[in-house]
Symmetry: C2
Subunit: 78 residues, 2 copies
């Protein structure tokens, strides 16, 4: 069994209200060092060996991310 | 400016209905290789140098994660 991590983030040109809310809270609380925040999703998949990375990318592209507004990256943990 | 990533996942002993829903959908669609799915959050913070990692960990512990039910990990990207 191998762990595969899929990170899904909004594309940079898409406004991220969740991240903006976190940044606003941090600034109000005095954490001036943080200049920007983006919030996304992280999926941890337990996959039977051997891992078919192409299939995982297809899952990410069709089910885990919305490719119109989101980018994803796939990391197979060794 | 340095990017710091904070990954927040539900603790393993906490039920994860979002992950279960994804797993159920994958299984129905014939992706038998995926045995388990956990869904969490990923925060990307742009932080002014030098990065105060202790401050970032405190932010993660008090604002980004709920330590009662979630674990977090902090990664400074170099």
């Amino acid at each position: 069994m191998t762990r595969v991590v899929v990170d899904v983030m909004l594309k940079t040109e898409i406004s991220d209200p969740q991240g903006q809310a976190v940044l606003s809270a941090l600034t109000k609380l005095g954490h001036q060092g943080v200049q920007a925040v983006r919030q996304g999703k992280r999926f941890e998949l337990e996959v039977t060996d051997p891992v078919d990375e192409a299939a995982i990318r297809q899952i990410a592209d069709t089910l885990l991310a919305n490719p119109v507004i989101e980018d994803f990256s796939v990391h197979v943990q060794t």
